[in-house]
Amino acid sequence: MKHDYFQEEKLKYEEIEIPDELLLMVRQTVAADRRKKTAAWRNRMIKMAGSVAAILLLCLTIGVNSSYAFAETAVKIPVVKTVAKAVIVRSYKADIIALDEQNSKEKEEKPLMGQEADEPEPSVSGNDTVSENEVPEQPVQPETTEEVPGGVEAWKAEMTAEKLREIKEIYTPDMEERYADEPEKLRTILLAELPEKDISLYGYHENGVLTGTALRVKDSCRYFDWNYMNGTKKLPDISFADADGDGEEELVVLLYNGEPQTKTITREDIEAPDKTAAEGSEASEDGNGNISNEAEAETVPARNTAVAENIPEKKNTETAAENTSMSKTAENTTAGKESDIADDGRMKISAQDAAEDGLEETASGDGSDETAAKSDMPSVSGNDVSVSEKPQEAPKQQAGELWLISLKGENWTASVLSINDYESQIIHQLKAEYDETAGAIQLYLMEEPFGKSEKLSEEEKDGLTYEAVNLAPEREFITEKGLFLHFRMEVVFVNANGEEVFFPLSIKLKAEICLEDGSLVVENIKER
């Protein structure tokens, strides 16, 4: 009797209908919680990293100011020395700087000893790039005009719209071969042009430096401390698009500096470009874009005093006015605390070095010293130029930084969208959830399911743990009827060894890039 009674009730219980929304609700709830936890974890890490950096800086400050021995050691360590010198307030500062100078000279002499006798003397402008000694075979730069070759600063001072106009041939890697005997033809290379609008973009290309560009619009030109290429040797693109919706088109410059640009190109790289890779070890592009103008403003006047003493060049003293005429509207907010500290230190020290050391030639004895030595090079402040010692696999080609330049009137304004910017903006809007049992990925756009759930191929997913969904390397900026980013996503799994395994998703996506209040924002993600 009892059993019958309960069986009836039990049947009713089991017949409780399960609503279709249940599955979706459960997934969304779980996904939302996961995201919350990931964000919380990230914030914690950033805070922790920030406080660690602050503590280290504090220790360094106290250390160098309380003990001469500590200070002496600190200025011998690359990178640390730039910060150390900036935070020394004690009276032994002069000694320490002298000591550092001595260190640099010692290091510099070592490689020179091993070089051939006919090795050209490094030029003495004080603006030499660090790559000078990396490319011993490179022939000495014959003087293009009446100028002494003097790095990107001198180049900026020297190049005028008329001179730039003379360069007609778009750069191709085979030019390296063709003009091997006439390096002056490679000193300024044409990167991109829009002949119908009379706009061209040129790059400073000397001693393997890939930083420093000139943008010529009709008869006016401006200079930017851009890394214009990475190891893939893909040239920048320029085009027009109306990103702020005001009816006037802005100039879009797309730089393929996808991987952090921390390497100068050496002769070996040119001969075997496939093996080259830009190695990222120091500051990201965010840092670069962020401080370059400030750095310039600060370093150029100081440097000019040094230059004026040593090289009787009139034009150099005019660079400050020209270089700083560009105002930048976009402030990159993602630059971390640490890089701010490091960059501050670097900026200060580069001004100091230029003023105090003047003629000091850049030391480049070993790879590790490069980053420190580059502080002597105001022209690339903020951009890391170091040498990777071992060849790596070719970097994935990525759409790199995007610069949007509004050409209204005399003062152009430039906004930058870095890779980190657009990646984080997209990841913020487009989330995904992995259904382990079905082996399928469902994307969510602003918390709403987006597209169809996509089943991943069965091959070798055993032993892999789902990690995240990220942007695939395949991405492209399109400037037809507005400014768009075409991209795809990929699923990241981690195997037992902690290595990442990627599964690309077939869904093709596009997002609109708009200029709002001076910042470039990614919005309106759609399937294409």
Partner: protein, 187 residues
């Protein structure tokens, strides 16, 4: 077990058994939307507090307890709302029945008329086929309490169950006999 692994297995457990949790919630709140809300709240609470979970073994009972507590909490809120509403709207009178607040009667015809804690025991034991030990874990009470509640619930459900008393007694052992004795003494 790492926290990450614990979290992942909790998520897995929730996703795999979501229908069961929904049924349980629906059984108490008797409303589709409310049951979905209850399950969602339970998932949020569980995922927020997964660190309090001691071991994976305790997980199933722990999460079930959260679902039941959420359901009861919903009913309590609902009760308040209805009570407040009734004061100015007589139409709603009798539209809601909260078993726990029903006047005590010895024989009830339906499980839903039992006090809530008895309903839970019946639901878990007969519908979900949980063992008494599991029920004790889920309801966070001791085993004897579960046994006595089950016995009392069966008893309340009517005389026809009396025949089964002996069976229950043999199934659940001496403590139930003791409970029976106690209830007789009380009577």
């Amino acid at each position: 077990m790492s926290k990450k692994a614990l979290y992942d297995s909790l998520v897995k457990h929730i996703v795999e058994n979501q229908n069961q949790f929904y049924r349980a919630a629906f059984y108490y709140v008797k409303n589709r939307e409310a049951a979905l809300d209850v399950v969602q709240n339970a998932i949020c609470k569980a995922l927020e507090n997964y660190e309090k979970l001691q071991s994976e073994e305790a997980m199933a009972s722990w999460f079930y307890r959260i679902v039941i507590n959420e359901s009861l909490m919903y009913l309590r809120k609902e009760k308040k709302y209805i009570a407040w509403d009734e004061s100015d709207n007589d139409l709603l009178e009798g539209s809601y029945e909260e078993p726990a607040y029903e006047p005590k009667i010895e024989v009830v015809s339906k499980i839903s008329e039992l006090p809530t804690d008895m309903q839970i025991v019946i639901q878990l034991h007969f519908f979900e086929e949980k063992t008494l030990k599991e029920i004790a874990e889920i309801t966070d009470t001791n085993l004897n309490t579960v046994k006595s509640r089950l016995y009392a619930a069966c008893k309340k459900l009517g005389k026809e169950l009396e025949k089964e008393d002996e069976e229950l007694l043999t199934r659940y052992g001496k403590s139930l006999k003791k409970a029976e004795r106690e209830s007789r003494n009380e009577a």
